[in-house]
Amino acid sequence: MKGYELGETAVGAAVGGERAVWAPHESLLGWVASVDHKQIGIMYMVAAFAFFGLGGIEALLLRIQLAVPHNNFLSPETFNELFTMHGTTMIFLVAMPLLTGFTVYLVPLMIGARDMAFPRLNAMSFWLQVFGGVMLYFSFFARGAPNAGWFSYAPLSESAYSFGSGQDYWILSLLVMGIGTVAGAINVIATVATLRVRAMTMRRLPLFVWMTFVNSFLMLMALPILNAALVMLLIDRQLHAHFFTPASGGSAILWQHYFWGFGHPEVYIVILPAFGMISEIIPVFARKPIFGYEFVAASTVAIAFLSFAVWAHHMFAVGLSDVFNLFFAVASMSIAVPTGVKVFNWTATLYGGRLRFTTAMMFALAFLVMFTIGGLSGVSFAVVPIDWQLTDTYYLVAHLHYVFFGGTVLASFAGIYYWFPKLTGRMLSESLGKWHFWLSFIGLNLTFFVQHVLGMMGMPRRVFTYPDLPYWGALNMLSTVGAFVLLAAVVVFAWNLGVSLKHGEEAGDNPWDAWTLEWATSSPPPVDNFTRVPPVRGRRPLWDLAHPELADELQGRAA
C-alpha cells in the first residue's frame, strides 16, 4: 500500500503558485496584463506561430532564389539577410518560445499546481521575448538586417566587415531574449521543485515535466555562455575592443568555442521538450504506459550532460589537433546512445498496444521516423573525416532540418493536436488534420531529403546562387517545390486552427481518455486550474481511477 492517503487532496487544495489576483479577462488588456501561466503559455505559442510565418516566408524567398541556377530574384545581400533572419527566427523566435509556451502552460497543470512559482517573472520572460523579437525585426527598418549567419562568425560579424547596425540589433535582441530565457528556466525549476502536488514524487512526474525540468538546467547553463559571448562581441563593435578581431591579436576561434559552447546545448534545448511531448502522446494513443520510464527519463539527463561536451564537432574544419577532434567525435557519437534509448523505448511502447491513429498520433509516429533520419545524419558528422567533406554543405542543411522540422516541428504539431482541446475546449478538425499531416510529411521529405544529395554533390550552404552543374538545378527545383507543399500544409493548419476555434466539436475534460493531471480539470481550465486534484498514486492518476484493476502501482514498478 503505497501513498494512497498522500495523494488525496481536498477541494481547492492545489498547492503553490500565487492565487490569481484577478480573473483573467478575455479583453486584449486582460491578455497583455496577465500573469496567468495559461494565458502566457498561449501567448508564447501565438507569438511563435506568427514568427513561424515570417521565418517560413523568408525560407520560401530563399527557395525561390535557389530554384534555378544563376537566378536573379534576390540580391546577394538580401539573400544573406534572409537566411540569417530565417535561422535566427526559427531557432530563437519559433522553436524556443513555442516549446516554452507548452512548458509554462502544461507544467503547473501536470504537477497539480495553480501557477508557476513566480507568475510575474513568467510574464516578464514572455515580454522580453516579444521585445527581443520586435527588436530583431526592427533592424529591417534601421540600416539593414543582420547578414552574418545565425552563428555570426567573427571577424565577419565585427564592425570591420559588418558595418550596418543589423549586427548590433541581432546581438541586443538575443541578449534580451537570453535574459528572459534564463529567468524562465529558473521559474520552471522552482515550480517543479516546490509546487508538485503531494505524492507527485520525482519518479511519478510525467515525462514531459521531466524533460522540461532537465531542459531548464540546460538553459540555465547554456544561455549565460551566449550572453557573455554576445556582450564581448558588442563591446568589440561599439567600443573597438579586440576580443575577436585577429587584426589586433584577438582570436576568431575563441568566438567559435563560445558560440558553440552555447550552440550545441541549444539544439538540445529545442528538442528535449519535443521528446517530452512525444513521450506523453505515444503512450496515450497506444493505450499503454511508456516503455522503460526510468530509462527515458535518465537518458534525458545523460543527453543534457553530454551536450556540453560536444561543441567542437561544429569546428572539425578549423584544423585543431587530431586528439582534440577525436575527443569531440567520441562525445558526439555517445549522444546517439541515450537518444537511441529513447527512440527504442517509444517504439517498444507501440508493441502490444491498441494504436489509435489520431492526427496527433500520426505526427508523433512521423516524428519517430523523421527524427531518426536527422539523428543518423548527425552521427555521420561526428565521424570527423566525413565532416571534413560535408560540413557547410547542403548535407548539413538537410541534417538540421530533419531534426528541427522532422523533430521539433512535427512534435509540436502533434502537441498542438493533442492539447488544443485542453487549451480551447474545442477539438481540431481531424479531416483537415489529415491533410495537414500528409502535406507536411510529403513536403518535408521533398524539400529536405534531396538536400542530402546536393550536399554530396558538393553544393555549399549559404550560396545565393550556383553554377549550372549536372543535376543541381533539377534537385534544387524539387526542393523548392517541396517548400511550397509545406506552405500548403501550414495554410491548411492555420485554416484548421481558425475554423476549429469557432466551430470545433466540444472537447469535454478528457477527450483522449488520457491520464495526466491536466486532463482532470475542465477545458479550458479555470483560473486556479483545479477544483480538486485527483489522488496521485502512480504515474497515471486518471488511468488508475478509470481502471483500478490495471493500476500501475499493482505492477510494482511504477510506484
Binding site: 571577424p155 502490444g352 554543405t393 553554377p467 500501475d552
Partner: protein
C-alpha cells in the same frame, strides 16, 4: 553517379574518406531501416480493431534496455576505430615538411603562391598529378574555407591561424573547388579550379607563368598598359614587369590564360572581361573591385592589354 563528387574521389586522400562515408552510410541506412520497419510493423499489426481488449500494461524490460544500449555502443566503437584510421589517411601530419604553396583567402577570391618557383596566380591552381603538395592556408580578412570535393577534405582559412592541407590528384582533369565557409556578400562566387596535369605539362605551365610579358606592341594594348597605371589598377593588383605589386586583388599577369573570372561567376572571355572592367557589379554585385566609369574605348584598351599576355 558521376555527379556525387564526395563519393567520386580523385585522390587517395579523398578516396579514404569516400570509402568510410559509403560504409557509414550503409550502416546508418540499416539502422534507419530497422527503426522504420519496427514502426511500420507496429502500425500495421497493432492498429486498433473494433471490440479489442485493453492491452496488457507493460512497463519495460531491463534486458531490452541493455540490448539497445549495448549494440549501438558496439557499432559506434567500430565506426570510431575507422574514424581514427581514416583521419590519418585523409589528413596526414604536416609537421615534417615545409609547404609548397601558400593559398590566401580574400573576400572573394583566392590568392595562390607557389613558394618554390615564385609563380603567383589566382582562383586557379595547377598541380602535377600523382604528387602530394602541402598548402599553407591563410586568410587576409574573414574566415574562408578551401574545398575541392573530389580531391579531399576541406579546411578553414582563418585569419591569425594558418592551417596546413595536403592536395593531390590521381588523374589529369579540372576539379572544381569552392569556398565553403560563409564569408560575406559574394561567398557564392568564391570558387576556384584545380587543374591537374602530367608533370611535364605542369612544368611547362609553371615556366609560362614565370615569363614576364614584354611591353605589348599593338596600339590599344599599349594604351591599356598606360591606363593600367594611370587608373590606379596598380594600387590593388600585381602585374609582373610593371610597378604593380599589390595583393588586394588578383594577380593579373597571366589573366588571359585563366579559365574563369571573378571567382567563377563567369567564364573568362574577351566580352566578359570587358563587361567586368566596365562594371564589376554587373557580374559580381558587392565585389571589392570599384567601378571606374571607364569609357568603352578605355575598356577596350585595358582588355587588349590584359589579353595581350596570352
Amino acid at each position: 553517379m558521376t555527379a556525387l563528387d564526395t563519393l567520386n574521389p580523385m585522390s587517395p586522400l579523398a578516396a579514404a574518406i569516400a570509402k568510410l562515408f559509403a560504409a557509414v552510410l550503409v550502416i546508418l541506412g540499416l539502422i534507419f531501416a530497422l527503426v522504420a520497419v519496427l514502426v511500420v510493423f507496429a502500425i500495421v499489426r497493432y492498429r486498433e480493431r473494433p471490440g479489442a481488449q485493453l492491452p496488457r500494461q507493460i512497463l519495460g524490460s531491463d534486458r531490452l534496455e541493455i540490448v539497445w544500449t549495448a549494440i549501438p555502443i558496439l557499432l559506434l566503437a567500430v565506426i570510431f576505430v575507422f574514424t581514427v584510421k581514416v583521419m590519418h589517411a585523409a589528413s596526414p601530419s604536416a609537421a615534417s615538411r615545409s609547404p609548397d604553396l601558400l593559398v590566401v583567402g580574400h573576400q572573394w577570391w583566392w590568392e595562390v603562391n607557389y613558394l618554390k618557383s615564385g609563380v603567383v596566380t589566382a582562383n586557379e591552381l595547377h598541380l602535377p598529378i600523382g604528387q602530394r603538395v602541402l598548402i599553407r592556408l591563410e586568410s587576409a580578412d574573414v574566415i574562408h574555407d578551401f574545398w575541392v570535393p573530389r580531391l579531399g577534405r576541406k579546411l578553414d582559412a582563418i585569419p591569425g591561424h594558418p592551417g596546413y592541407l595536403w592536395l593531390e590528384a590521381d588523374a589529369p582533369g579540372v576539379y572544381l573547388g569552392a569556398c565553403a565557409e560563409f564569408c560575406g556578400a559574394e561567398h557564392a562566387w568564391m570558387r576556384f579550379e584545380v587543374v591537374a596535369q602530367p608533370p611535364a605539362q605542369f612544368a611547362a605551365w609553371e615556366q609560362a607563368q614565370l615569363a614576364v610579358p614584354p611591353v605589348p606592341r599593338p596600339a590599344p594594348a599599349l594604351a591599356g598598359r598606360k591606363l593600367f597605371v594611370a587608373r590606379t589598377c596598380v594600387n590593388c593588383h600585381r602585374f609582373a614587369g610593371t610597378s604593380a605589386d599589390r595583393h588586394v586583388g588578383p594577380d593579373l599577369t597571366h589573366l588571359a590564360d585563366r579559365r574563369m573570372l571573378a571567382g567563377g561567376a563567369v567564364a573568362n572571355t574577351p566580352s566578359t572581361l570587358a563587361q567586368w572592367l566596365k562594371d564589376p557589379n554587373s557580374i559580381k554585385p558587392d565585389s571589392h573591385m570599384p567601378n571606374f566609369q571607364l569609357s568603352d574605348a578605355e575598356v577596350a584598351e585595358l582588355a587588349a592589354y590584359l589579353e595581350s599576355t596570352k
